[in-house]
């Protein structure tokens, strides 16, 4: 639509009645921040009015500052609001008038639209262009350039395609993703609040409140690699086919189609069809990934999600995406250097900055949970302290966890009579066919009252094909709100964890071959290899351990190794007792250092104090089992032929979980006489 205001005398606009002007405002949805698409009219006066309206709405930032000259037009179009602005600024002088008008037009009228016609089409083309560049290898899909382009595309989408709606939201999102980490950091508010205030003034409330920008932000989130970090962090299994579909989709183009304003185009039907098609594509390629049985190679079970959680909680701390670190370091290396306390020792190089930021970001989650551990983590990241954390992995050959949980049974009701039993299910997964003894107790709690319900025990050595059904009941429950507290103790849970180590001795000529063959990396990088981590099932409790010098290094040469072992409780329950916890090693070939709390017991190293330690730390996520210096015999120190060892730790333990089920008990009915 051509801007006809230049040719249209202002007088013509002024000649329109206020009623008509209000109608236009309503028709063009000026105040709601929608794209303005005025319909052509035959009446020249009205046409002139449209020209004025269009100019006011579509003008850029610079021209809006010259609002004074358009004051008359504004007044004509929106007499009441202009009057309000006048009242607000009356008596505050010229500057005050400007600010007042500015606030009114900015917040109330949302006059600062940066959108322009066919911006959505430009986004589509830019999306294709970016995708083509990536596909041709001109830019890397995960490089800093790609991230920069993605940021520009997101801001363009919010500003031009969505007329500024959600623009401030997008800016906040970008800042958050780049400079902050999960979980939410309150420090973000110091930056966010001023941005929100000024953003609201400049771009209007919809720029903060309108959530239409979220799909574009999700594409941005994916584009910069944060999605991958999330997938990795959660240990989700995205099948190759689905990954390919996602990777080979020009998402910015798709999002351009999704945001298509059909009203702008002559062939509305076709444009609408394309828009619908792209929406369907999004649904099938993204939502289907999360739906069992469609995208997954195998239907993901709850265990797989637990597995992801266990892996995450087992100590694999994930930091920010490397690209984000790179961007952050590139943007302000000096600031980052200062933040991470390197000022005493001089400036960091870019690589050091990225490396350190990565290492430190991995410590962030610990800041709230365990300050001591957080400080240790930071010291390790800065190279000031030896890394004594034991990071475990899931063994692909025993990927199913031994777990149990209580759920609502069939016919479960939230509101019951006083003597009514409540059905529950005890779901047990026992893939390794441990002999498990379960003790189930029900306690009803209402306020301070505790009423013991029934309980039962059962034993299984098999995987239960169906969950075990049981009911909680007691003779008479007090009326009102309360809860059944169901506690299940499983006794005899056993988890084994294996650790692969290679004793190379002085056969240095074979070091690289061994590292490449067995740890799929160079000897220098072997400590970071997943194959060097202790691996076992994603059970609620594991005894993870590492051995070497440093203990993360799977290639043990002639230097005496360290042994670090940690009991990890990732199941959210409590360790009631430990029947046995041991590390099977060639105990005759290893002498324990003086500080070591372990004892040799046959072929095993055991910690005789572990039950006492655990008794006071039943719910702790990590309990140190051993931190020992070992002395190797010459058989291990100077082997004739380098040899591998697969050491095994075993922990047999009793584990309790507790779950509350809120219940409302009806008033007892009066007997009918």
């Amino acid at each position: 639509m051509a801007d006809t205001s230049a040719e249209t005398p202002k007088k013509e606009a002024a000649a329109e009645t206020p009623k008509k002007e209000a109608d236009w405002a309503a028709q063009f949805k000026v105040g709601e921040g929608k794209r303005v698409t005025p319909e052509p009219r035959a009446d020249p006066a009205v046409s002139g009015g449209v020209g004025v309206a269009t100019r006011v709405i579509r003008k850029g930032f610079g021209e809006d500052w010259t609002l004074k000259k358009d004051w008359q037009q504004t007044k004509e179009l929106f007499p009441q609001r202009a009057e309000t602005a006048w009242k607000v600024t009356k008596g505050t002088g010229k500057a005050g008038w400007r600010v007042g008008s500015f606030l009114v037009t900015g917040i109330g009228l949302n006059a600062f639209h940066f959108g322009f016609r066919y911006a959505d089409m430009i986004l589509i083309v830019l999306g294709i262009f970016k995708f083509a560049l990536q596909y041709a290898g001109v830019i890397e899909s995960t490089g800093a350039t790609a991230a920069l382009i993605s940021t520009i595309l997101l801001l363009f989408t919010a500003l031009a395609v969505l007329n500024g709606e959600g623009f401030v939201l997008a800016v906040l999102g970008v800042i958050y993703v780049m400079y902050f980490n999960f979980p939410p950091n309150p420090a973000f508010l110091y930056i966010a609040l001023p941005i929100i205030i000024f953003g609201t003034i400049l771009f209007g409330l919809p720029s903060v409140l309108n959530v239409r920008v979220i799909p574009a932000f999700l594409v941005y989130f994916y584009d910069i690699g944060a999605f991958h970090t999330l997938v990795q962090s959660l240990g989700l299994v995205v099948p190759d086919t689905m990954s390919n579909v996602i990777a080979l989709t020009p998402w910015w183009t798709i999002i351009g189609f999704v945001y298509l304003d059909t009203e702008q185009y002559k062939r509305k039907g076709f444009v609408g069809f394309m828009k619908g098609l792209c929406m369907l594509y999004v649904v099938f390629s993204v939502l289907a990934t999360a739906m069992p049985g469609i995208g997954f190679a195998q239907t993901p079970l709850l265990e797989e999600f637990q597995q992801a959680r266990t892996q995450l909680e087992a100590g694999t701390l994930k930091g920010e995406h490397p690209i984000l670190s790179q961007i952050a370091c590139a943007v302000n290396i000096g600031k980052i250097t200062q933040q991470i306390g390197k000022e005493q020792t001089g400036a960091l190089s870019f690589d050091e900055c990225v490396k350190r930021r990565q290492a430190e970001s991995k410590c962030k989650p610990l800041e709230k949970t365990d300050l001591e551990e957080y400080q240790e983590c930071i010291q390790v990241a800065r190279g000031e302290k030896q890394d004594a954390r034991v990071v475990g992995a899931i063994d692909a050959t025993q990927s199913e966890p031994t777990v149990f949980r209580v759920e609502k049974g069939q016919g479960y009701l939230d509101k019951i009579d006083a003597d009514e039993p409540v059905p529950f299910l005890l779901d047990v997964k026992n893939p390794r066919k441990n002999e498990l003894n379960f003790e189930v107790t029900c306690v009803y709690e209402a306020g301070n009252k505790k009423i013991d319900g029934n309980g039962f025990t059962f034993t299984t050595t098999e995987e239960l094909p169906e969950p075990h059904a049981f009911s909680c009941r007691t003779s008479a429950l007090p009326p009102g709100i309360g809860k059944w507290k169901v506690r299940v103790i499983a006794r005899g849970l056993t988890t084994t964890v294996g650790l692969h180590r290679f004793f190379v001795g002085d056969k240095k000529e074979l070091l690289e071959d061994i590292a490449q063959t067995f740890f799929l990396t160079s000897s220098a990088q072997a400590a970071a290899s997943t194959a060097a981590q202790p691996r076992g099932p994603p059970d609620p409790v594991r005894l993870d351990f590492i051995l070497g010098q440093p203990p993360q290094n799977p290639l043990i040469q002639t230097k005496d190794p360290q042994l670090i072992a940690t009991i990890k409780n990732a199941g959210g329950g409590e360790i009631v007792g430990i029947e046995r916890a041991e590390i099977e090693m060639d105990t005759a070939q290893f002498s324990l250092g003086p500080e070591c709390k372990l004892q040799a017991n046959g072929d095993f190293f055991v910690n005789p104090e572990i039950n006492e330690i655990v008794a006071n730390r039943k719910k702790d996520r990590e309990i140190r089992f051993a931190f020992c210096e070992l002395v190797m015999s010459d058989v291990y120190r100077f082997p004739e032929i380098p040899f591998p060892k697969y050491f095994i730790s075993t922990i047999t333990y009793d584990y309790a979980i507790e779950k509350d089920f809120p219940i409302t008990v009806f008033q007892p009915r009066e007997a009918i006489t």
């Binding site: 050959t397 988890t495 084994t496 294996g498 099932p537 591998p644």
Partner: protein, 276 residues
């Protein structure tokens, strides 16, 4: 009749000796696991057998050698003997165009799967370390003429730099540079030999350089060996010289012998699955 004549005129190839330069290529001792030895998957409790074909595909006879199996855990995949001596194997030649080979077997014991696991993935590495050699022989132009005009009129022209491919062994002389400089009434001829590892394995000893000759005349070299460190750090040249009287140009074979220990590897793996 005409056809017969034409046929009889065609060049016969079937019974002609094959004109193959055996002293080419960069292979030496090659390892190849025999199919199904071990099988890709075996059941816990069963035994296994590793069989590897050891072939000398180089052009020289192999001296001392040893083959070792590394990486099998004696608890889960016990193996009776981890190493064996490689018998002398002759290299490729006119009378033996494949080179000698034999099959080495390693017998494994009863397999076990670690507790809790459904299966155990046994990965192993076969390492053959052997003594090998190669001889480089290349005709070079010796032109003691120092004046360019004289040089151009000579019967042969010096090539400043001669690039060579393999000589039928993993270590090769890859370049020969020749320089001539006056020493009084005589001239000094320098040959700079560049030595590289062109094989798929690794040199595990210093490379001894011996018997460097120009025709039958011995040359003096600045060093007798190139260490592994020098080889890896591209300090892999040796300068061999001879002082000669000024005379007319002639062509003569330059030869040198390299001796070294070489290591080649082959990976294998099998899965031991828990019996139901």
């Amino acid at each position: 009749m005409m056809v017969l004549l034409l046929v009889s005129c065609t060049r016969s190839t079937a019974n002609d000796p094959i004109d193959i330069n055996f002293k080419s290529g960069t292979s030496g001792i090659e390892l190849q696991l025999l199919a199904n030895h071990p099988p890709r998957r075996i059941v816990e409790g069963s035994t296994f057998n590793i069989a590897v074909q050891v072939s000398n595909t180089g052009a020289y006879d192999m001296g001392v050698g040893e083959i070792t199996v590394i990486g099998l855990d004696q608890v889960y995949t016990p193996i009776e003997r981890q190493d064996a001596v490689i018998p002398p194997l002759k290299g490729r030649s006119e009378s033996n165009n494949q080179g000698d080979f034999y099959v080495q077997e390693f017998s494994g014991g009863k397999t076990v799967v670690p507790p809790g696991a459904k299966e155990y993935r046994a990965k192993f590495l076969l390492v053959a370390a052997y003594e090998y050699m190669n001889v480089v022989g290349k005709d070079v132009c010796i032109n003691p003429a120092l004046i360019e005009i004289e040089s151009e009129q000579a019967s042969c022209q010096i090539q400043d730099r001669i690039r060579l491919s393999g000589q039928g062994a993993p270590v090769a002389v890859t370049q020969i540079e020749e320089t001539v400089s006056p020493v009084g009434d005589d001239v000094k001829i320098d040959f700079i030999l560049t030595i590289d590892n062109r094989g798929r394995g690794k040199v595990v000893s210093p490379i001894l350089i011996s018997d460097v000759r120009l025709g039958t005349k011995p040359l003096t070299c600045n060093k007798r060996e190139i260490t592994m460190f020098e080889l890896e750090n591209k300090r892999n040249t040796v300068v061999c010289s001879r002082t000669e009287q000024r005379q007319s140009a002639y062509t003569s074979p330059l030869s040198a012998t390299l001796q070294y220990m070489y290591k080649t590897t082959e990976e294998g793996e099998f899965v031991v699955q828990r019996s139901r």
